[in-house]
C-alpha cells in the first residue's frame, strides 16, 4: 500500500516536473522551429508544428546581413569580464558580511538589493552623461563596468548565502594556524565554496548575456553584443518573424550549450544551502 502510494506520488511529481519543464521550454522550441520556416509558414494559421518544408534560408540571410562573430565576441567579453570582476569584488564583501557581521550588515544587504528595484530607465540619462563624460560610450569597458554593477547585489547575496553555510570554526582554525586574511579567503573559503561560486558565476554570466537595456542604449557599432544583433531583426512594420527567430536562435545557442553542459554544477550550486 505504502509502496503504491509512493509510486503514484513519484509518477505525479515526474509528470508535473515534465509539464512545467515543457511549458518553460516551449517558447524556445517555437523560436527554433520558426527559424527553419519561410516567412509565410511562420505566420500560418493553424500553426505548423513539425510537418513543413524546412529551410536554412533565414540563417543564410542573417549570416549575410550581419557580422555574427563580432556580436558574439562582444557578448563573450562583456559577460565574462563583468562576471569575473563582480565575483572578485563580491567574495571579500560576502566574506565580511558572513563571518564578521556588524549591526548594520542586514541593512546593508537589503540596501544593496533595493538598488535592483529601481527601473533601469530611471537612471538612463545620468549613466549616459557619465559615459559621454568619460568617453565610455560604445566601449566594452563601459559595459563591463555597468553590467558588473547591476549584477553585483545578486552576486553578493548569493555568495553571502553560501558562505553562511560554511562553519566559521574552520576559518578560525586556519587563523590559529597562522593563515593571513588573504590566505584564509583564497585557500580555505574559496575552495569550500567552489560549487556556490561556480553557480553564481554561471547565473550572472547568463544574466549579463541576456541584459538588453544597457547593452542597447550604451552601444552603437563597435561594442554591441548579441542583444543588439537580435534587436536589429525586430520590426513593427513588416513580417520578419522567421529571420528574427533565426537571429534569436543564433544568439541563445552559445548560452544554451553552456547551460546544458554545466547543468549539474548549476543545480548543485543553486541547491547548495537547501540540501545541507
Amino acid at each position: 500500500m505504502a509502496r503504491s502510494t509512493t509510486t503514484r506520488r513519484k509518477i505525479i511529481t515526474t509528470a508535473a516536473a515534465w509539464a512545467v519543464g515543457l511549458l518553460i521550454f516551449f517558447p524556445i522550441y517555437w523560436t527554433i522551429l520558426t527559424s527553419f520556416k519561410t516567412e509565410a509558414q511562420a505566420i500560418n494559421d493553424p500553426p505548423l508544428f513539425f510537418f513543413f518544408d524546412w529551410t536554412l534560408e533565414n540563417y543564410a540571410v542573417v549570416q549575410e546581413r550581419s557580422d555574427y562573430m563580432r556580436f558574439l565576441w562582444n557578448s563573450v567579453i562583456i559577460s565574462g569580464l563583468s562576471t569575473l570582476l563582480g565575483v572578485m569584488i563580491a567574495v571579500p564583501a560576502a566574506w565580511s558580511m558572513a563571518f564578521v557581521p556588524s549591526r548594520r550588515t542586514k541593512d546593508i544587504l537589503l540596501w544593496m538589493l533595493s538598488t535592483k528595484m529601481l527601473p533601469a530607465v530611471g537612471v538612463l540619462y545620468p549613466i549616459s552623461l557619465l559615459f559621454v563624460k568619460f568617453g565610455l560610450l560604445d566601449t566594452r569597458t563601459g559595459l563591463v563596468v555597468v553590467l558588473m554593477l547591476i549584477n553585483l547585489p545578486i552576486i553578493v547575496w548569493m555568495l553571502y548565502t553560501y558562505f553562511k553555510e560554511i562553519p566559521g570554526e574552520i576559518l578560525e582554525a586556519a587563523r590559529m594556524d597562522g593563515a593571513t586574511l588573504r590566505e584564509e579567503i583564497v585557500y580555505i573559503l574559496t575552495p569550500m565554496a567552489i560549487p556556490g561560486i561556480a553557480s553564481t558565476m554561471l547565473l550572472n554570466f547568463i544574466l549579463a548575456w541576456n541584459e538588453a537595456f544597457w547593452t542597447l542604449n550604451l552601444t552603437a557599432a563597435k561594442a554591441a553584443p548579441l542583444t543588439a544583433f537580435i534587436a536589429s531583426y525586430s520590426s513593427p512594420e513588416g513580417l520578419f518573424f522567421a529571420k528574427l527567430s533565426a537571429a534569436s536562435t543564433m544568439a541563445i545557442a552559445p548560452i544554451l550549450i553552456l547551460g546544458w553542459f554545466s547543468q549539474k554544477q548549476l543545480v548543485r550550486g543553486l541547491t547548495f544551502g537547501a540540501v545541507k
Binding site: 549616459s128 552603437a220 520590426s235 513593427p236 513580417l239
Partner: protein
C-alpha cells in the same frame, strides 16, 4: 604674390582639399524595414563613388527612437546620420539638434522632393532631413470578396460605404473579417489610426488655445463608429492588433479590407508571402459623409545629421547618395521598379516604368491629398496629421490610445475613455505650459 606666398597658398589649398577628400567611416542608425535593408546591401556603390565606408546600427523602430533621442540630448555623438521621422524632424530642427540641409548640390535637385514631404521635414522653411521614403495610408481590399458581396469600391469611398461593405464581406463561418484595422495601444500604432479616423469625422486634438477636444461630439461620433464597425466586422481581439498582425491576417486571406500604410501594398501583392496577391485592389482612405478631410496620414523615414557629428561632409554626401534620383535608378536596375523607395520624389511618379506598378498611382494620390498644416476641418495650432509635432505628444497620445484600446477590449465605455483622455491631455498640456 611672391613665390613663397604662392607656395603657402597652394599648400593650404592642398591640405583643405586633402582633408575634404579624406575617406571617413560614418555610423548610421536606422530601422529594420525592407527599404533600409536594401540600402545597406547597396552601400558598396556609395563607397566606390566616395571612398567613405559605412557602419550600420539597425534597431527596432521604438528602440531606435529612444536610442537616438538619448544620443542627441546627451551629445553622445555616436551617430553621424540618424533615421528619423516626420514627428521628430521639426521638433529637433527647432531645438538646433540637426544640421540644416540647405546646401545640397544642384544635381540633387531638392525641388524634386514631393512638397508634402519637404514641408513635413522642414522647420521654419529649412530642410532638416531628406526623405528616404514616404508613405500615406489607403484602403487595400479583396476584389473577389467585393465582387461576391455585389459591391463596387469607389475610388474615394466614405466610412459609411466601408462599414456597409465590411458587413457584407464578413463571413464568420469561413473566418473572413470584413475589415481589419489597428487597435493596439501606442501613439504610432492604434493611436495614429484613430487620430486620422477622427480627423475624417471633423475632430481635432486641440483647439487654437491648446485645449483638448475629446469632449466634443466629433470625437464621440468617430470612436463610436469605429467600435461599432469593428464589433460587427472586425477580427476578434482587434484591440491588440497593429500593422504586423493585420498584415498577417490579410496575407492569409482573412480580411476583406485593410486600411493602413501605403508601403503595405508591396507586401500584400508579393506572391511569395501573400495568398491573395492577385486579388488586391486599392482606394483612397475614407472620410465621413459631408466631411472634406480624408483619413489618410503622412509619414516619411528620413535621414538627418545630428549637430554634434565631426563628419558632416561625409554624412551629407551619403544623404545625397541615398535619397537621389540615381539611387532610385540603382534599386530599379538591381531589384525592379516595385522595390524602389516610394513617396519621396516627384520625378518617380513621372516615370512610366514606375507608374506601371499597381499601387503607384494610389500611393501618390494619397500622399498628395495629405496636408500636415491643415490635418482636419477646423483650425489647429499644431503641424502633423496622425500626430501633433510637439515633444509632449508621444507621451500623451500613448496614454490616450491605451484608454481607447481598453474600449476596444470591452473594458470601459466610449464616454469613460473620452473623459479620461480629456482630463489627462489637459493636465499634461497644463504641466507643459501650453495652457
Amino acid at each position: 604674390m611672391s613665390f613663397a606666398n604662392a607656395l603657402r597658398a597652394a599648400t593650404s589649398l592642398a591640405l583643405v582639399f586633402g582633408a575634404t577628400a579624406q575617406a571617413e567611416t560614418i555610423t548610421i542608425a536606422t530601422v529594420n524595414n525592407g527599404d533600409m535593408i536594401r540600402m545597406q546591401g547597396l552601400t558598396e556603390d556609395f563607397t566606390t563613388k566616395t571612398g567613405h565606408t559605412v557602419e550600420w546600427v539597425t534597431l527596432e523602430e521604438n528602440v531606435l527612437r529612444q536610442r537616438v533621442t538619448t544620443d542627441i540630448t546627451t551629445k553622445g555623438g555616436q551617430f553621424d546620420i540618424m533615421t528619423i521621422g516626420m514627428y521628430e524632424t521639426p521638433i529637433w530642427g527647432k531645438n538646433g539638434w540637426l544640421v540644416p540641409l540647405d546646401d545640397l548640390s544642384a544635381e540633387y535637385d531638392v525641388d524634386d522632393l514631393l512638397p508634402a514631404m519637404r514641408n513635413g521635414l522642414s522647420y521654419d522653411g529649412t530642410l532638416f532631413a531628406a526623405p528616404f521614403y514616404g508613405e500615406s495610408s489607403m484602403i487595400m481590399y479583396r476584389t473577389d470578396l467585393m465582387e461576391k458581396a455585389g459591391l463596387e469600391m469607389p475610388e474615394a469611398p466614405t466610412w459609411q460605404f466601408i462599414r456597409q461593405a465590411a458587413a457584407a464581406m464578413t463571413d464568420r463561418a469561413n473566418d473572413i473579417n470584413g475589415i481589419c484595422l489597428r487597435g493596439k495601444a501606442g501613439w504610432g500604432e492604434g493611436g495614429a489610426f484613430i487620430t486620422v479616423t477622427a480627423n475624417s469625422f471633423g475632430a481635432r486634438w486641440f483647439d487654437e488655445e491648446w485645449n483638448a477636444q475629446f469632449d466634443q461630439p466629433e470625437w464621440k461620433e468617430a470612436l463610436e463608429f469605429f467600435v461599432g464597425m469593428m464589433s460587427e466586422s472586425g477580427p476578434a481581439g482587434y484591440a491588440t492588433n497593429g500593422f504586423n498582425e493585420n498584415l498577417s491576417l490579410f496575407q492569409q486571406g482573412k480580411c476583406g479590407m485593410w486600411i493602413d500604410a501605403t508601403v503595405a501594398a508591396s507586401f500584400v501583392t508579393n506572391p511569395n508571402d501573400s495568398s491573395v496577391a492577385d486579388k488586391v485592389g486599392f482606394a483612397l482612405a475614407p472620410n465621413s459623409e459631408g466631411v472634406e478631410k480624408r483619413s489618410n496620414w503622412l509619414w516619411a523615414w528620413a535621414l538627418a545629421i545630428p549637430a554634434g557629428t565631426q563628419k558632416t561632409d561625409a554624412a551629407k554626401q551619403f544623404i545625397e547618395w541615398a535619397t537621389s534620383k540615381d539611387y532610385i535608378e540603382l534599386v530599379a536596375a538591381k531589384e525592379g521598379w516595385a522595390n524602389v523607395p516610394p513617396g519621396a520624389r516627384t520625378s518617380l511618379y513621372e516615370n512610366p516604368n514606375y507608374m506601371e506598378v499597381p499601387f503607384a498611382k494610389m500611393t501618390l494620390d494619397s500622399i498628395l491629398s495629405a496636408d500636415p498644416n491643415n490635418p482636419t476641418v477646423k483650425p489647429v495650432p499644431y503641424v502633423g496629421i496622425q500626430f501633433a509635432a510637439i515633444p509632449e505628444f508621444a507621451g500623451i497620445a500613448t496614454e490616450v490610445s491605451q484608454e481607447f484600446s481598453a474600449v476596444y477590449a470591452g473594458q470601459q465605455s466610449v464616454d469613460e475613455a473620452l473623459a479620461k483622455a480629456q482630463a489627462l491631455t489637459n493636465d499634461a498640456m497644463e504641466a507643459a505650459g501650453y495652457r
